[in-house]
């Protein structure tokens, strides 16, 4: 049990030890003739038992270490927290110029734990201004790396004030001077000073006409940091920083900025005893300016893809469905995230092609732009809320997003996968079996989404020679003529039929031969059967009927004399009449006497036929 508690305590103390830190504070840039202070601050709960550090061979220890100790105990709501800090200060003098590294310091605490500081790099330059006055021989050409610009290819325009040296000046730097429309650039206005500045006045910064600008200046007080400009140590501070995005092409002039600084100079002429007691410094108002700068902004090349939405830089795009399996009338959304660096603040949302079954609402845009990194990188999230009004599987075509890549100088199109949405029939769509009420359907007109001409015909139809008309063509006239002729023919034919129908006597006469032949055929039948009496009977009736029809006289009125008389009057030849009379005589005779031989009958039949055909 005791052991467990002990180990617990030990582990706890180890935790505390990890909270103990050693911090270094030292100037990053010193002059070769300057004495400077390096301070190590050890913070922690337990006391420092041992502290070791050596300045190394590059620096000469002038004085130190100077120890100081402070502790702080606070009771908040009965909880006691205490912290203590020990600081060790060393005064050093550089032995040469260049970049040197201060070694790590090791602090050992009571209890055995130790902590180490991080190595610290210090640049030593042979400060020209001081070298000239102090005559130090340690002048070397190295160590002049400029820190003015923030990145390669940067352009700096500085304006140095005239007067007592160049102890105050201002610079305006732009990360790039050749841009395309929409390409973001960082502009920095820095103030460099070697004198004591007691105040600023009449600050005038450019308005950046033709640019979309965003002020990303550091918050709070202006923090000066040592910087090496042409082997002269200045205290430099960023006054203003902007993200600029050109909105138009051409040469755009950025006007210069001006700032009035009130600089205090100590009068070193006197050096009397009382000078130290009285204020013998003079304040001078100094105006520092930067010249105007011309930026060349070129147009975006033509041939932008349809999915180009103004993005210039380098971007990636992802698209996903927040909920891809849902019921009808349930909300979901498609989330498109565009991230990268460039004019992220100005890019527009990609256009999504939703199926008409989905009801789409206003796009929600969320920006997440990294201000610390100059406001040019970050991400933008577009949320497209939608509600499916129908069920089924819907596939959205891949979301395309194009941007202009400033590095390669061409348009790049990124594409997501096609998005699938599976919509099930919602419960409220079905009429529940338990309730009898019908679901209320709101009637809406069928909305026209767009208008277009109808599709082309699939078949050519009957192709005809150009400029041909049926009316009054030859075919038309022929058909019309045929119709009229047909009409005439029918009229003539039908009217003659009617006329004949109207003439009863004529009909009888015309039908006489027909009747006679019919009877003759009957007679011939009897002849074949050898019935003589019947043959003559029929033959007689045929002949008499024929004559009766022809002469339009009743058979009873007919005598042989009258027959021959009337027939000859009708223009019938004597021979034919005698044949007819002969047959009639033979018939009458045969009816009362012997029928005669078969040959005789046949001869008489032939004679009758002859007579009828002649008379007809």
């Amino acid at each position: 049990m005791k052991r467990i508690i002990l180990s617990l305590l030990l582990s706890l103390s180890a935790l505390w030890a990890s909270a103990q830190t050693v911090k270094v504070s030292a100037p990053n840039l010193v002059s070769a003739t300057e004495q400077f202070r390096v301070t190590f601050t050890v913070e922690g709960d337990s006391k420092v038992s041992d502290f070791t550090w050596s300045p190394g061979s590059d620096f000469q220890l002038v004085w130190g270490p100077t120890k100081s100790f402070s502790s702080n105990t606070s009771i908040v709501n009965g909880k006691v927290t205490s912290s203590s800090s020990s600081s060790y200060s060393y005064l050093l003098l550089p032995l040469g110029t260049g970049k040197f590294t201060l070694g790590a310091a090791t602090a050992t605490f009571k209890g055995g734990q130790s902590a180490q500081s991080r190595p610290f790099t210090i640049e030593v330059v042979a400060d020209n201004s001081q070298a000239s006055s102090q005559g130090s021989g340690q002048q070397q050409s190295q160590g002049g790396s400029s820190q003015g610009g923030s990145s390669q290819g940067a352009v700096t325009s500085g304006g140095k004030t005239s007067g007592k040296g160049s102890d105050v000046f201002m610079s305006f730097s732009l990360s790039s001077k050749n841009l395309v429309v929409g390409q973001p650039v960082t502009a920095t206005i820095k103030l460099y000073q070697r004198a004591e500045i007691t105040g600023f006045d009449d600050a005038k910064f450019p308005s950046f006409t033709g640019f979309w600008s965003q002020d990303i200046s550091p918050q709070g007080n202006v923090v000066f940091q040592r910087e090496n400009v042409d082997n002269v140590i200045y205290n430099a501070a960023v006054l203003k920083q902007y993200v600029l995005i050109p909105q138009q092409s051409g040469d755009i002039v950025i006007e210069g900025s001006t700032l009035d600084c009130i600089v205090r100079y100590r009068n070193s002429s006197g050096g009397g005893l009382f000078d130290d007691f009285f204020d013998n410094s003079t304040s001078v108002r100094k105006r520092v300016t930067t010249p105007s700068m011309t930026v060349h902004v070129s147009k975006l090349p033509s041939g932008a893809p349809a999915s180009f939405r103004g993005g210039v830089g380098k971007f990636t795009m992802t698209a996903k469905v927040s909920k891809d399996s849902l019921y009808t009338h349930e909300a979901s959304s498609i989330v498109v995230t565009v991230s990268g660096s460039g004019n992220i603040a100005l890019v527009e949302p990609p256009v999504l092609n939703f199926p008409s079954e989905l009801e789409v609402y206003d796009t929600k845009t969320t920006e997440n732009i990294d201000r610390a990194r100059g406001g040019v990188s970050g991400s933008k999230t577009y949320e497209y809320p939608f509600i499916p009004r129908s069920y089924g599987d819907f596939v959205l075509p891949p979301v395309q997003y194009s941007y202009y890549d400033t590095e390669s100088g061409k348009y790049v199109t990124t594409q997501s996968d096609s998005l699938r949405i599976h919509v099930l029939k919602g419960a409220d769509d079905d009429a529940p079996a338990a309730t009898v009420t019908m679901p209320v359907v709101t009637k809406r007109g069928v909305k026209n989404l767009s208008e277009d001409i109808r599709f082309i015909a699939a078949k050519p139809g009957n192709l005809s020679p150009k400029g041909r008309f049926f009316v009054f063509s030859a075919a038309f006239w022929i058909i019309a003529a045929v119709l009229v002729l047909l009409f005439a023919a029918i009229w003539i034919a039908l009217s003659s039929i009617a006329a004949r129908k109207a003439d009863v006597v004529g009909t009888k006469t015309r039908k006489a031969t027909q009747m006679a032949m019919k009877r003759l055929r009957l007679a011939q039948n009897y002849l074949k059967q050898g019935i003589g009496a019947a043959f003559y009977e029929e033959l007689y009736r045929a002949m008499l009927g024929f004559v009766s029809d022809k002469l339009n006289m009743p058979a009873a009125d007919l005598s042989k004399e009258r027959i021959s008389e009337c027939l000859s009057a009708g223009g019938v030849s004597e021979e034919a009449i005698s044949k007819l009379i002969d047959v009639l005589d033979a018939c009458e005779f045969a009816r009362y006497a012997d029928a005669g031989s078969n040959e005789q009958m046949t001869a008489r039949d032939d004679k009758a036929v002859e007579a009828i055909s002649t008379i007809y």
């Binding site: 192709l463 119709l483 039908l494």
Partner: protein, 246 residues
């Protein structure tokens, strides 16, 4: 010889078919200019049909030639006035035409008669007129030859009715034919066509400016200039090459 003629005919129609399918495929793929070329090649063979003009107009419209589209829809409607798809598409194309010309209102009976006349094509009216002629003759026959008073009455009045219909149908057919043969309707095919007060470029004032797709009526023609009348009655001389006769 007859065999040769037949085989030549078959080849020609085969070529029309293949051109048609080629044009339809090009249209479906959105290659409008190729579709236009193929349809135009069919037309160059000297044949026409309402659907051919309709498809050509569609391809022209998609290719951005609004004037040519209007021209060919009008041609399709000239051949088949009851072509509903062509009417619908012409309305859509006309909605995109720049010139908005107020129509002079026509006497309502006249426009109704015109509408009736253009419901079917000239050839159809001609066939109807022949049919009516046949019915008239049949009615006359019935009146002349039948005995029953009811039949004779039917024949008499039937003949009078059908002879009137015959005259109307023939009139419609002839009016359409004369409309087409007159060739006085044209469509502006150039984007801009300034109309001048006289047929010369120098000594005349600009009266108004016509735009692509506007339908005009040709009144007169002098050398390279034509006198056109708008639907609202205004007249002016435009260059002949800015328009094409329907």
């Amino acid at each position: 010889m007859a065999m040769n003629a037949f085989s030549f005919n078959a080849q020609a129609s085969q070529s029309v078919d293949s051109l048609w399918t080629k044009a339809a495929a090009a249209y479906s793929e959105g290659q409008w200019s190729e579709a236009v070329a193929s349809y135009q090649a069919i037309l160059d063979k000297g044949v026409e049909s309402p659907k051919l003009y309709y498809n050509l107009a569609g391809a022209y419209f998609k290719d951005g030639w609004k004037g040519k589209a209007v021209l060919n829809y009008e041609r399709a409607l000239r051949l088949d006035p009851s072509f509903n798809d062509a009417k619908y598409n012409l309305e859509i194309v006309n909605a995109q035409i720049e010139d908005d010309i107020a129509q002079v209102p026509e006497f309502i009976l006249k426009s109704a008669a015109r509408k009736l006349c253009y419901m079917i094509s000239s050839d159809a009216w001609a066939v109807i007129s022949l049919l009516m002629l046949a019915l008239t003759l049949a009615g006359v026959l019935m009146f002349v030859l039948c005995h029953g008073s009811a039949l004779r009455k039917t024949g008499f009045f039937g003949a009078i009715a059908t002879v009137l219909l015959f005259v109307c149908a023939l009139g419609c057919s002839l009016s359409q034919r004369s409309d087409a043969l007159r060739q006085d309707k044209a469509v502006i095919i150039k984007p801009v066509a300034p109309a001048k007060s006289s047929p010369s470029a120098e000594s005349s004032a600009d009266l108004f400016v016509l735009h692509e797709g506007t339908k005009v009526t040709i009144i007169d023609e002098v050398a390279a200039w034509v006198d056109v009348e708008l639907a609202d009655g205004r007249q002016g001389w435009v260059k002949k090459d800015t328009l094409e006769i329907i």
